[in-house]
């Protein structure tokens, strides 16, 4: 269909076309930058406004006369109040405890399974790999009620360890899935060479696959970390006492008290709670994005 278009263009038209192409390209560039600037303002406005509010005193927050988008007398008292608050520190420690346990558990489970599924074909491995992908599509809100009953039956309700038990449903399927992809991209010659040299499967995994697929492992770890740090449905359902709460639900449920909200402190708490994933993102952005996109490009 495009061949006819090419035939219809006369020879002189090409030069004319080149000039219009350049103009077209410049306009495209201007449009691109305008769109990106507008998008960046919208995307960054909420976190920026949270930061502004967190630097305001309660009096300044309540003062509706000036612009809300500026802070006149910045103060760190909201942060100081939170960091001196035992409950808030406990939220942080709970989140850290649960997240580290879940990340370690997830990586062991998914690296072993991905290696077996991707490299050591066995009866049912194809079926299982498909099952992993389908499990990844099951949302957490579909199963939180039966899991509430199951965790309750184990006596782990209202305990951070109950969260360690259920969070792998959020992390393991995706991590396994992307690790299968990374392992599959390692050339077969490498494991043949290792087998000839007399390595066993465990040595092969440990000495060859893990070092070679390290970027994938970092990406999967980051994914597991951010997902368990941000998890919200399970802790909201399972945890009721503040001492066992992780960050997300702690900030949302415990820093909101009564009718007068301490907005400055609430925003400071939300920002502090969001800090670990944001810091990881800032330093390991390429791995973060690789992990995000790996699932789809291999799907």
């Amino acid at each position: 269909m495009s061949a006819t278009a090419a035939n219809a263009t006369p020879a002189q038209g090409i030069y004319h076309k080149a000039g219009s192409l350049r103009r077209e390209r410049r306009w495209a560039l201007v449009t691109a930058y305008i769109s990106l600037i507008i998008a960046a303002i919208i995307m960054l406005a909420p976190p920026f406004y949270m930061l502004l509010t967190s630097l305001k005193t309660s009096a300044e927050v309540a003062d509706a006369s000036g612009s809300p988008w500026w802070v006149h007398s910045p103060t760190l008292e909201n942060y100081a109040a939170l960091l001196g608050n035992r409950m808030f520190i406990d939220f942080f420690l709970n989140s850290a405890k649960v997240t580290i346990a879940v990340v370690a558990l997830t990586m062991v489970i998914s690296v072993l399974a991905a290696f077996a599924l991707g490299r050591m074909r066995f009866w049912g491995s194809q079926f299982l790999a498909t099952g992993v992908f389908l499990t990844y599509l099951v949302p957490d809100t579909l199963l939180f009620i039966p899991l509430y009953q199951i965790v309750g039956g184990l006596g782990l309700l209202d305990s951070a360890w109950g969260l360690v038990l259920v969070y792998p449903t959020l992390t393991v399927p995706f991590c396994t899935w992307i690790m299968i992809g990374y392992f599959a991209s390692i050339p077969k010659e490498l494991d043949e060479a290792a087998l000839i040299d007399g390595a066993n499967w465990m040595q092969m995994l440990w000495k060859i696959f893990i070092p070679v697929a390290l970027p994938g492992i970092i990406a999967a770890t980051i994914f597991a970390f951010t997902v368990s740090w941000a998890a919200f449905v399970y802790p909201t359902a399972f945890i009721t006492s503040p001492a066992e709460m992780p960050m997300t639900i702690g900030v949302v449920s415990q820093l909101i008290r009564g009718d007068t909200f301490a907005w400055g402190q609430l925003m400071a708490g939300a920002l502090l709670a969001a800090l670990p994933p944001v810091v990881i993102y800032a330093f390991l952005m390429d791995y973060y994005i690789a992990g995000l996109t790996a699932g789809a490009t291999k799907g």
Binding site: P47, A116, D140, L142, I145, W201
Partner: protein
Amino acid sequence: MADGGVATLPRIEAPGGASLKRFARRRSTIAFLMTLPLIAVIGGLVVWPAGYAMHLATLNRRMTTFIGLGNFEILLESDTFRMVIFQSVFFAVTAVILKAAIGFWLAHMLHHIPANGQRKWRGMLLVPWVIPPALSTLGWWWMFEPTYSSINWILNIFAIPSVPWLGEPWWARISVIIVNVWYGAPFFMIMYLAALKSVPEQLYEAAAIDGATSWQRLRYVTLPMMRNIISITVLFSLIVTFANYDIVRVLTNGGPRDLTHVFASYAFQVGILAGNIPRGAAVSLFMFPILAIIAFFVLRGVNRRNREEA
């Protein structure tokens, strides 16, 4: 697990069919042992709870007697639940279309600018996706807050009257969608950008030589090459949006007058807060057939295209 493998080490070099066969047998055993934890997670924490949910949904409130589909009947007869179905579908479809469109547009714009600037812009635009949604929604909640709404303050500058963001049902619905689009559009952008980069440059050169306009390049080169990623991303986002809980919980908590509840937040309210576990399980289970049907058709399409390409 490692010990079993170590024991075979010296014997691998020994030639002959028997040891090879034993090796193969051992290999599948090792592989099975390695996948055992995965099977335990999927079986114990996904398949078993799913079956258990179906069982729970057929019980009465005190979980003592079997009442068949009674919970589903009661739910379908209640106006609140019909509203929940409508709101979930409306919310998910609108939000996903907006996210996909905005993400597609931004990915194109990013793709157009010089490569050395892309990293910086991409880094800024992905920030909403990185912040845990429950926490960023707190910020939005504060921005929507009626007395001090900073969004209304900006609107007032442009002589637009203040909007009752979370007070009026329709505005509350729109607010939930706005927050979800803000959170999810960067994800689409990053997926589409990865897809755009994987389209071979020669295809565009060929199209340019054939005199294709930019619209034709998009329609006949870019879109067909990206079709699989678009469908997987839309499927994934549709499921996650449909099952969304945190944004609704933090922003409106279902209000005003239960009009912004989606399946997840309603299931939570009925099942956990009101203590009617079986009916809550029934509410969640309503999502399953809808999601399964969407997933089936999308994945079938992806599979078929993959096979055509192969």
